[in-house]
Amino acid sequence: MTARPFHQGATEDRLRVLQGRARSRRFVAPWMVVVLIAVIGFLGLIFARTSLDNSAFELAELERSVAEQSALNQQLSLTIARLENPAHIAPLAEELGMVIPVSTNQILVDLSPSGPTVVSVEAREEAQ
């Protein structure tokens, strides 16, 4: 068995440690960003579309409600008009003892300086 002597000095002369820049690795690849944006955009689009559809449904519901209320309003107007018909009121008034005036109820207003007085014609005729 032979042994060669260890030439420490020569090794030290040929090999040395270099302090170079460490190789940096990107955390997120560009294609991932694109995909991410696309996914977010797609989800946003879906959300917007859904929101829009919901709004449209709400709008349709509101329109239906407006139509219903309009129809109700129309019915109420009709009911009022029917109730205001003189042919409806007259018999009710008659039942309550009211009468259509058959003679003029004249009121004379005396504007003399002594002060205004109101005298009905009937009262004046009776006085005469």
């Binding site: 579309r49 829009l52 559809d53 709004s55 449209a56 449904f57 349709a60 129809a71 129309q74 019915q75 107007s77 009709l78 008009a81 029917r82 205001e84 018909n85 003189p86 042919a87 007259a90 259509i100 005036p101 058959v102 003679s103 003029t104 004249q106 004379l108 014609v121």
Partner: protein, 589 residues
């Protein structure tokens, strides 16, 4: 060794795989072919087919306009209703169904059964019924019975304003009255909707949508006063009951504007059912018997009798032939215009004229002749005017031509002055040989109340559409007589009511003027009958006229055969209410 190689080459598994691969290849090829066919070759056609199944095009019917009276009371409007229909082929037990829903619809079950067993694909059971009733029927869940929404015309005032509004047919087309005349404005413009729908028939949000909304019809504001219209109709109904008359008609005009305050009569009809309410018409198919739909005040003509004398006297005074105090000598109770006419003994021979009451021959002033309504005296005055001038005044007062009122099928009336007629002028002087509508007579009297200016009557005062309210204007006016003559005529009219034939027309608190008229009716054989048309036309307050009322009673009983007996009380009742409604101050303390 060779056997092994053969076995290896034709391994069953490999064969299977090959078949499957081949199958899949064909399948994919088939699908690819179909894909290309659907997505490329037939793409457009299939897209159109799909769209056409989703797309719905509908006409949007416009809301028909409303009609209001002068106070904003509704006279006519359109509301949503339901129309029930059936698909007869789907109805399992038509007899049971007919009996079940007949009562609810108010339709005879036999009629319903007939419809339900017809061989048609679609039959209406009843149209434009109340939504609540429709819901009740649909709640029975009878197979083959359906409903769809449909508009219906409602007249809240019912029969009260029926002669003004007229009516529409089942499809909403104007048929009579204002509904007919203003049909174009009232009906509006239909819109349309094109949209995508889902399986449930609901519009797809964000789908194709093209909606052009309908333009609603215009609303009409009229000059009619509904309470007065009611009072006038009631007065007519009472008069018919009291006088046993066939009909009664009333027109109330506002003197200054020519606006119609009331226009009604009896018999009456229900504008919604379009059925007369006159019991005499029930079961009668003869249109001449049932004339309730016809508004006689505008469309019916009659010989006005003595109410026509207003024109005769106004013409004579305006032409300076007589004054109010002019004495007409030797006024008898009989006058023979055509030689021998009074000797024939035939009362229908024209040329022999009588006063209503016998009296001795006497000198009479023009005022007396008018107040006592002497036919003989009136003809003697007309003789001074002459036929040519008399006719020109009759025409100027609006007789013989349409007034131009905004109402359907107005009658122009008749002026019968045939060439060679020797007695027509005399007949016309006292209201024969002339046929006028009650409206024409009211307008003629309004001219006297309006200081001699004739105004075209009208019903609609303004039209309200999507662009706003438009006043109706441009009514015809014309001078007929001078204000002086009009004033004298008003005094003569007042004297008729104060001491003449029209005392029953007096209204408490107001000085009123008017003229009675009684004209015999022509029979089917063109000979005058004993039946009369009694009328009264008058103004109030006579010193500053605001209102004209014309009343016509058709064929009253003998006791009420004159205008003074039957029409004058109706005039008084209507005039009193009209004065109150317009807030006219009393002028008689």
């Amino acid at each position: 060794m060779a056997t092994n190689r053969f076995a290896k080459r034709f391994d069953a598994n490999r064969v299977r795989i090959a078949f499957i691969a081949l199958f899949l290849l064909f399948a994919w090829a088939g699908m690819a072919y179909r894909l290309v066919q659907v997505q490329v070759v037939q793409a457009a056609a299939l897209a159109d087919q799909g769209l056409s199944q989703r797309l719905v095009a509908r006409e949007l019917p416009p809301q028909r306009g409303k009609v209001f009276d002068r106070n904003g009371e509704l006279l006519a409007l359109t509301v949503e209703a339901q129309s029930m229909y059936a698909v007869p082929g789907q109805v399992d037990e038509p007899l049971w169904v007919a009996q079940q829903i007949g009562g609810m619809l108010g339709v005879d079950s036999d009629v319903l059964y007939e419809r339900l067993t017809s061989d048609r694909d679609f039959v209406y059971l009843d149209r434009q019924i109340d939504a609540v009733v429709a819901e009740e029927i649909l709640g029975l869940e009878i197979k083959g019975i359906y409903a769809h929404p449909e508009s219906t015309r409602i007249y809240p005032a019912g029969q009260v304003a029926s002669h003004v509004t007229g009516f529409v047919d089942i499809d909403g087309n104007g048929q009579e009255g204002l509904e007919y005349v203003y049909d174009e404005q009232l009906r509006g413009t239909p819109g349309h909707a094109l949209f995508e729908r889902d399986l449930g028939g609901r519009p797809i949000p964000q789908g194709i949508s093209d909606i052009v909304p309908a333009v609603p019809g215009a609303d009409l504001n009229t000059t009619i006063d509904l309470p007065l219209q009611y009072q006038a109709q009631q007065a007519c109904l009472d008069a018919i009951e009291k006088t046993d008359a066939e009909a009664c008609w009333v027109v109330v005009l506002e003197v200054e504007t020519g606006g119609v305050l009331a226009m009604t009569g009896a018999p009456v009809f229900d504008p919604e059912s379009r059925q007369t309410l006159d019991p005499a018409c029930e079961g009668s198919d003869d249109p001449n018997v049932c004339r309730a739909f016809s508004n006689f005040t505008v469309r019916g003509i009659y010989e006005p009798g003595s109410t026509q004398k207003l024109i005769t006297f106004a013409a004579a005074i305006e032409e300076g032939e007589v004054g109010v105090g002019t004495v007409i000598p030797d006024v008898a109770d009989v006058l023979e215009v055509l030689d021998g006419a009074c000797d024939s003994g035939d009362s229908d021979v024209y040329g022999c004229y009588h006063d209503f009451k016998e009296h001795a021959t006497e000198d009479m002033t023009v005022a007396e002749i008018f107040t006592r309504s002497s036919n003989v005296g009136s003809i003697m005055i007309a003789e001074r005017v002459g036929q040519e001038r008399l006719v020109s005044y009759i025409e100027a007062f609006g007789l013989g031509s349409k007034t131009g009122i905004d109402y359907s099928v107005e009658a122009p009336g008749i002026l019968n002055f045939a060439a060679g007629c020797q007695t027509c002028w005399a007949s016309a002087a006292i209201g024969y040989s002339v046929a006028a509508t009650p409206l024409q007579m009211a307008a003629a009297y309004a001219a006297i109340g309006n200081d001699g200016i004739w105004m075209q009557p009208h019903i609609v005062s303004s039209i309200v559409d999507v662009d706003g309210e438009t006043e109706v204007s441009g009514f015809e006016t014309r001078f007929v007589v001078s204000p002086g003559t009009a004033l004298l005529m008003r005094e003569l009219l007042a004297s008729v009511i104060e001491k003449g034939t029209g005392t029953a027309a007096q209204v408490d608190g107001y000085r009123v003027g008017g003229k009675t008229g009684t004209a015999n009716k022509l029979g089917d054989d063109d000979r005058y009958t004993e039946q009369t048309r009694a009328s009264f036309v008058g103004l109030a307050p006579i010193d500053d006229p605001k209102i004209v009322v014309a009343v016509l009673i058709d064929s009253p009983s003998r006791e009420f055969r004159t205008g003074g007996a039957s029409a004058a009380p109706v005039f008084a009742a209507v005039m009193e209410q009209a004065l109150h409604r317009l807030g006219v101050s009393p002028d008689v303390p």
